[in-house]
């Protein structure tokens, strides 16, 4: 498969050996030399050679290939988390660039193989994706392009509604039976002649039955018993879908879960790969003539733009910081309790545990607990970090604060759930009418209203019963409802609590 030139192949062997000597533990890695057009294609397919047909890949491709042609951006490196690992080199890059990419890729490879969040991913995903493509094409043949495309659009709209926590446990098993929707007044007999009404269904009997029914309803267990984060799986199990639709939704969910760990470990992964490319390049790989180019390229990658977060930069700096601290023994109770600035500055217990520690970090952490545990005040001060905010008057970003807690809170917020809102299914038989009640766990930011509206309409297409979403909008608890034709909002303010529509809220 690999089609490297003899020069590149020689370098690859050398770099592979160096990586191994550094302690990196990779899957076999296959490099392919491809043209920019191919790399744009693979990149728009998320790194894979074959995906199901969909215009979003076409849009991605259009943007990537255009921005390359106009010289606005260039993809240097791409690597797929499979076993063996596939990575791509671009034709026409300089030798130094190719070596840099290879060193970087071995870092990623080691990370994919060893980080715990990847322990459950399907390492044969290339085949799996190709199977997905075949299945979708088969449905297209049977049900028509437009029909299938419309359904995929709908599914993609819900793509991010998965539960990151079940990455390690595998998809949740949903075995509860879906409660039947109660048709009102089932206990009434059919009356054909209206004058017989009161004889066939005596009013007092009916009232009696109603009360009983109400009792039964109110004792019915909640469905689902616990709020559900994995909305996609829930819909796959309980929504009234045709077989092919269920299969497509499953495809979207599986792909979503496949990509999830990469989103969860972006900073860690890029930091790790950058740490190792820098380490290996400067110590073992570069020759004298390449050092300037390398420095230029490396610093370009590490540059932290104003108004943008650079995972490469934060990642590599944190890894270096951790290594230094554990080399000098700057951890543990004694270190934490020491207040003497001078003593802290010269603290060196020569523990030499740094290398071991960073390998441990790359194994056990994801971005959230990585930042939570290793982002220290010293680190923020040394790296001159700050929180910026948009000044609406000047329409410019301004430094807001250099307070350590604020920086950390901001970073953690950005990373929790990939910076995406957390939405749960609270009740799938809301008001005993088979309606869906969703709850947005508000963490300081409102949802984008027009997108929320459109997404709910898409979810309705799958659930086929009215949807309700509780969220905080403009500092006011509100319930948004879409019943298939109309989109309404109801305030959940205290004074209106008595209205039947809102009697179950707010819920903790």
């Amino acid at each position: 498969m690999a089609n490297l030139t003899p020069e590149l192949e020689a370098e690859r062997k050398r770099i592979c050996k160096i990586a191994k000597d550094c302690g990196l533990d990779c899957f076999e890695t296959i490099f392919e030399l491809i043209s920019y057009d191919q790399i744009s294609q693979f990149a728009s397919y998320g790194g894979f050679p074959v995906r199901y047909p969909h215009w979003k890949f076409g849009m991605e491709y259009e943007q990537l290939s255009k921005s390359y042609e106009y010289g606005l951006s260039k993809i240097y490196e791409m690597v797929i988390n499979t076993d063996p690992c596939y990575a791509y080199l671009m034709e026409g890059n300089s030798m130094m660039d190719q070596k840099l990419v290879m060193a970087h890729v071995y870092g990623h490879c080691d990370f994919f193989k060893n980080n715990i969040w990847f322990s459950k991913t399907n390492r044969k995903m290339i085949d799996q994706m190709a199977n997905h493509a075949t299945r979708v094409r088969r449905y297209i043949d049977r049900y028509g392009y437009d029909e299938v495309e419309r359904f995929i659009d709908t599914c993609l709209s819900l793509e991010n509604l998965i539960d990151r926590h079940s990455i390690l446990n595998g998809p949740p098993k949903m075995t509860e039976p879906k409660p039947a929707i109660n048709k009102s007044e089932q206990f009434m007999f059919k009356v054909e002649k209206s004058y017989m009404k009161n004889y066939i269904n005596p009013p007092d009997k009916v009232a009696d039955q109603k009360a009983k029914q109400f009792e039964i309803d109110s004792q019915k267990p909640e469905f689902p018993a616990e709020p559900v984060r994995d909305i996609l799986s829930f819909l796959i199990h309980y929504a009234p879908l045709e077989d092919w639709q269920q299969d497509i939704l499953t495809i979207i969910r599986d792909e979503s879960y496949y990509f999830a760990p990469q989103g969860m470990t972006k900073t860690l992964n890029e930091g790790w790969a950058s740490y190792w490319h820098s380490y290996m390049m400067t110590r073992h790989i570069l020759n004298d003539s390449e050092i300037i180019d390398f420095a230029d390229h490396h610093s370009g990658t590490m540059f932290m733009q104003m108004g943008g977060y650079n995972p490469y930069k934060v990642g590599i700096e944190l890894f270096r910081d951790i290594e230094e601290r554990w080399n000098k023994g700057q951890f543990g109770r004694e270190w934490e309790q020491c207040d003497d600035v001078r003593e802290r500055k010269n603290w060196d217990k020569k523990t030499g545990l740094g290398r071991e520690k960073i390998f441990e970090v790359r194994k056990l952490y994801n971005d959230v607990n990585f930042i939570d545990e290793y982002l220290t005040e010293d680190f923020c001060v040394r790296n001159r970090m700050f929180v910026y905010k948009l000044n609406k008057e000047t329409n410019q970003f301004e430094v807001d604060t250099r307070d350590f807690k604020a920086i950390k809170a901001q970073l953690l917020f950005q990373m929790t759930n990939f910076g995406q809102p957390i939405i749960k299914i609270e009740n799938a038989n809301f008001e005993n009418r088979g309606e869906l009640l969703l709850h947005h766990v508000h963490e300081g930011l409102d949802l984008q209203p027009n997108y929320m509206d459109a997404t709910m309409q898409n979810m309705y297409k799958i659930w086929k019963r009215p949807l309700n979403l509780v969220t905080l909008m403009d500092n006011e608890p509100q319930l948004f409802r879409y019943d298939g034709t109309e989109y309404t909002r109801h305030s959940l303010g205290d004074e209106k609590k008595s209205e039947p529509e809102q009697r179950e809220f707010p819920k903790s």
Binding site: Q41, S44, Y45, V50, R51, P53, H54, W55, K56, F57, G58, M59, Y61, E62, E149, L156, S157, L158, E159, N160, L161, M304, M306, G307, Y309, K313, N383, R384, M385, F386, V387, Y388, K389, L390, N391, K392, N395, Q396, F397, E398, V399, D400, R402, I407, Q410, L411, G419, Q420, P421, I423, L445, D446, L447, Q448, P449, N450, Y451, M452, T455, N458
Partner: protein, 366 residues
């Protein structure tokens, strides 16, 4: 490559969006400003798959690195998109490039315009030279390397002298292949559009903008049917002169209006340069319908009847509504010619009517 399929699907979705919103683009002058050779750039809302996501505030805050105190500007500006108060945020626009040809197609579909039947000239063919042939002899400058190589390779393989270890191929004399001329018959159609516009005092900026938009779209449509379409521009008030495109749309004169002056100049132009047996001729005249005198109008009518209508494909007159114009000329034409097929009349009350007016002009398929 499978990506091509997705890409063309994406492009057809885009084109559908342009089609849905076509009227807005027609009446909006900025599109013409974005013309680049054969392409126009059209801003359309980014097509997006909706998901639950945070509102615009998400991008207003983040972590950065560097010097500066509280309140110091960071220079960076938030992404594109005008942040007007109360405006719907998050509407990203992307620009798509659409070729004039495609644009003309959309115009045609939208207005259900018939294909133009070039008049006469059907049997006139020209011979054109195209370098599509291959010959064993020719000048070195036209040597086709690939074909030569293939030929040589074939010779090596068939003679059994090809050595994969040393795959050098040395072509000999009889391997060489050259491009050569092939004569092709091309149907021969020539077309000229002559735009005439009244620039007298009563034609305001808005009226001229309407003419500009309308002529742009007419040009687009005609260009699709006639390769190498010629365009000429004539402005007139009491006297007429030929100008270039730029001047045509920018000039504003004052004074009286003698429509016949323009018609006479146009007549000269046609007589001297565009013989009607060879050329498809499309004169367009735009004015606010005011003419100096009834006598001049009569002269125009005579010119039309005796010269223009027999010689041109179709003569089009567009009357742009203006505060000052009486609109008399249109009525005179209607009275005189009634429903003559060779004359199209259109009244353009405002920007909204541009599309229907284009339909008036081009709907006959002539």
């Amino acid at each position: 490559m499978a990506i091509r399929e997705d890409q063309s699907r994406f492009k057809s979705i885009i084109k559908g969006k342009v089609r849905d919103d076509f009227k807005r683009y027609v009446t909006n002058g900025e599109l013409i400003g974005r013309r680049e050779d054969e392409f126009v750039k059209i801003p359309i809302p980014r097509i997006d798959i909706p998901t639950f996501r945070y509102g615009p505030k998400q991008n207003e805050q983040g972590v950065g690195q560097g010097d500066g105190d509280k309140g110091d500007g960071q220079g960076g500006k938030p992404g594109p998109g005008k942040g007007e108060a109360g405006d719907q945020a998050g509407e990203h626009m992307i620009e798509v490039e659409i070729s004039m040809e495609e644009l003309a197609e959309i115009l045609g579909e939208k207005l259900e315009l018939p294909k133009i039947q070039p008049k006469g000239a059907k049997n006139i063919f020209t011979e054109k030279n195209k370098y599509t042939g291959i010959a064993p002899v020719g000048p070195e400058g036209l040597r086709k390397f690939k074909q030569t190589y293939k030929k040589a390779l074939a010779r090596y393989i068939s003679s059994g002298t090809y050595n994969p270890q040393d795959p050098a191929i040395i072509p000999i004399r009889r391997d060489f292949q050259y491009r050569t001329v092939k004569k092709t018959q091309m149907p021969y159609t020539k077309a000229v559009v002559i735009y005439m516009m009244d620039v007298s005092g009563s034609m305001g900026d808005e009226q001229k903008e309407i003419v500009r938009l309308e002529s742009f779209w007419i040009n687009t449509w005609l260009k699709k049917h006639y390769k190498g379409l010629e365009t000429r521009f004539i402005i007139h008030d009491a006297s007429a002169k030929e100008v270039d495109e730029d001047t045509f749309f920018k000039t504003s004169e004052s004074g009286g209006t003698l429509i016949s002056s323009a018609y006479k100049l146009c007549q000269q132009m046609i007589q001297s340069e565009y013989s009607s047996s060879e050329w498809n001729i499309y004169p367009f005249h735009f004015s606010d319908g005011d003419n100096w005198s009834g006598e001049d109008t009569r002269l125009c009518l005579t010119l039309l009847r005796e010269f223009f209508l027999p010689h041109v494909n179709v003569f089009s007159y567009g009357q742009v509504e203006s505060k000052y114009g009486s609109g008399q000329f249109l009525k005179d034409l209607q009275k005189e010619f009634g429903t003559d097929e060779r004359l199209t009349l259109s009244q353009i009350e405002g920007r909204d009517k541009i599309l229907s007016s284009i339909k008036d002009f081009l709907g006959k398929g002539k």
